[in-house]
């Protein structure tokens, strides 16, 4: 695959009141791959996703999406270019139905999205069916339980018809069966041509899905490569488990 990477991040840095949260992180995502982003809690994984989606602005460094600089663009422009994300702390629109929650994405998504609410709701129905929420379409989002909320987050992100999908811990709190289902769904999404960056703690899912893995620790990229090489990397082991007593 000699095409340019769909996303290139170079020397990205983010500071919060003097504390460095992301420290000169550089990597690239190839089109069509699934890249897993792992690291201990507090490593800055969600911050990194926030920087890519535009929710936060970087202090230094550059981000290129499909070759073009997107650093100065507000989140809604990046969404319309084709970058979609899920939120780790789920953010449904509380008083809207599940259907309308997804319809918003269809209305405002890729290059402005569907033109009418009716068309958007149609697309939304299909996406709810795809993520297994067809039965809940008319329920208020606030009434949905945990796993259903995750599915809704996913459907909302897909409604943008994204080229790059940023998944932030979609498996958290799911049981083994539900994890298998989500893994399947993610594979189907990838097969439909979407590039995926997935933040995950569930290593089983990472092994099954990831083409490559990035490891973030204290805001720095300490390892990247295939799942096997990364999991064996002593720096990574140390980051998760702490220094071995000599």
């Amino acid at each position: 695959m000699s095409a340019a990477p769909i996303l290139e991040v170079r020397d990205l840095t983010k500071r919060f009141q003097g504390l460095i949260s992301i420290n000169r992180v550089s990597f690239a995502i190839e089109e069509g791959e699934i890249l897993a982003l792992i690291g201990p809690n507090g490593a800055g994984k969600t911050t990194l996703v926030n920087l890519i989606s535009g929710t936060l602005a970087a202090n230094e460094g550059e981000i290129r999406f499909q070759g073009a600089h997107i650093g100065g663009l507000p989140p809604f422009r990046r969404a319309r270019l084709g970058i979609a994300r899920t939120f780790q702390v789920m953010k449904p629109f509380p008083s809207l139905t599940a259907l309308d929650n997804v319809a918003v994405g269809a209305l405002f998504g890729l290059q402005g999205g569907a033109r009418t609410r009716a068309a958007a709701r149609e697309q939304a129905r299909q996406l709810l069916a795809f993520t297994g929420l067809a039965a809940r379409a008319e329920q208020d989002a606030v009434a949905l339980g945990g796993p259903d909320r995750k599915r809704l987050e996913l459907a909302k992100a897909l409604a943008l018809r994204p080229k790059l999908l940023l998944l932030d811990e979609v498996m958290a709190g799911l049981n083994a069966v539900e994890i298998e289902e989500v893994v399947e769904v993610i594979k189907q999404i990838r097969d439909s041509g979407v590039t995926i960056l997935i933040i995950e703690h569930v290593m089983k899912a990472v092994r099954q899905l990831a083409d490559r893995v990035l490891v973030l620790h204290h805001g720095e990229l300490i390892a990247q490569g295939s799942t096997d090489s990364v999991f064996k990397d002593p720096k990574v082991v140390e980051a998760y488990l702490g220094k071995r007593r000599a």
């Binding site: 989140p75 319309r80 449904p92 629109f93 405002f108």
Partner: protein
């Protein structure tokens, strides 16, 4: 169901339009006030109810509508229609200029900033010579309460139709998404800055036209009553009482509360305001989501709905 509602509304509008024919001058005057304030509540609904940005400064648009019309007619001898346009232009421009910085704030802070802005703009205008400074202006006198009544009704109908159109449109969906979760809305492609500002400008437009009609009707205008700050809270309460984010809620809220206030005033005059305040307190406790929600809630859960709200919102 929908067709029945539409027919009922058309009939209601027709009945309202026929009020001046009854020949009761006091009723017509009360009607003009009630209709204008209903427009204010409905306009507020666009920015406060749909977009979720509770402005406490819309009175400034009312005042700009008043002064725009008054200045055009008294200082430049222009006709009423042109005056209305000038007032609207001033208000919409104000909404754009001040909206952009202030709409970056949320919740309480936005409310206070708009309140502050309305005070500041009011103070500036009340010192301008062309606006008659503190004395105010006197518009050409015209005795045509019936005409003003129909104008006010027409404006309210136009405003309601606009809100209806918004509620069915992509724009409206975007506003609701902003209200429900602005960050998520932005991540889903909603141009939040554009939409919020547009909502404020539309609200400013209708509010200012109401001001212009009020100015010509009332003839004597001065800064204190034109930029009356309590107007802000009144329109918010009426919208909230009726049901923010619904199409007809604020109109009902405004008409019902106006009626309650009038009845209290004619019944117990001195204590009217006192009882009105009590009505507000009780309403916020038992029906915080307004009449619209009350109607639905009572139908679904019966009187238990009232206690439900307390149980849900108490500490």
């Amino acid at each position: 169901m929908r067709l029945v509602v539409v027919i009922l509304l058309v009939v209601a509008a027709g009945l309202l339009a026929a009020v001046p024919l009854l020949g009761d001058a006091v009723l017509v005057q009360y009607g003009i006030n009630a209709l204008l304030v209903a427009t204010l509540a409905q306009s507020w609904n666009i920015i406060g109810g749909f977009a979720g940005y509770p402005s406490f400064g819309n009175s400034v648009f009312f005042g700009l509508g008043i002064y725009g019309t008054a200045i055009a007619m008294t200082q430049f001898g222009l006709p009423f229609g042109v005056g209305l346009c000038l007032g609207a232009a001033l208000a919409v421009l104000c909404a754009l200029l001040f909206g952009l910085p202030v709409l970056r704030l949320r919740g309480h802070y936005f409310a206070i900033a708009t309140l502050g802005l309305s005070f500041a703009v009011a103070a500036v205008i009340s010192n301008l010579e062309i606006a008659g400074a503190n004395i105010g202006l006197i518009l050409p006198l015209i005795r045509a309460d019936g005409m003003f009544y129909e104008l006010a009704l027409g404006l309210l109908v136009a405003c309601v139709l606009c809100v209806y159109a918004i509620s069915r449109s992509r724009f409206g969906m975007g506003l609701i998404a902003i209200r429900e979760d602005e960050d998520a809305a932005a991540s889903m492609g909603v141009n939040t800055t554009l939409y919020k500002t547009a909502a404020l400008m539309i609200a400013a437009f209708f509010t200012s036209i109401a001001g212009g009609i009020h100015a010509y009707w009332i003839t004597f205008i001065d800064p204190a009553s034109s930029f009356d700050p309590t107007l802000n809270v009144r329109m918010v309460i009426m919208a909230m009482f009726g049901g923010p984010g619904t199409v007809l809620g604020p109109v009902f809220g405004a008409l019902v509360l106006s009626a309650i206030y009038e009845m209290l005033a004619s019944w117990i005059s001195t204590a009217a305001a006192l009882l009105f305040g009590l009505v507000i307190v009780i309403a916020v406790i038992f029906m915080p989501r307004g009449l619209a929600d009350l109607a639905v809630g009572l139908r679904r859960h019966g009187p238990g709905y009232l206690l439900q709200n307390i149980r849900r919102h108490r500490i």
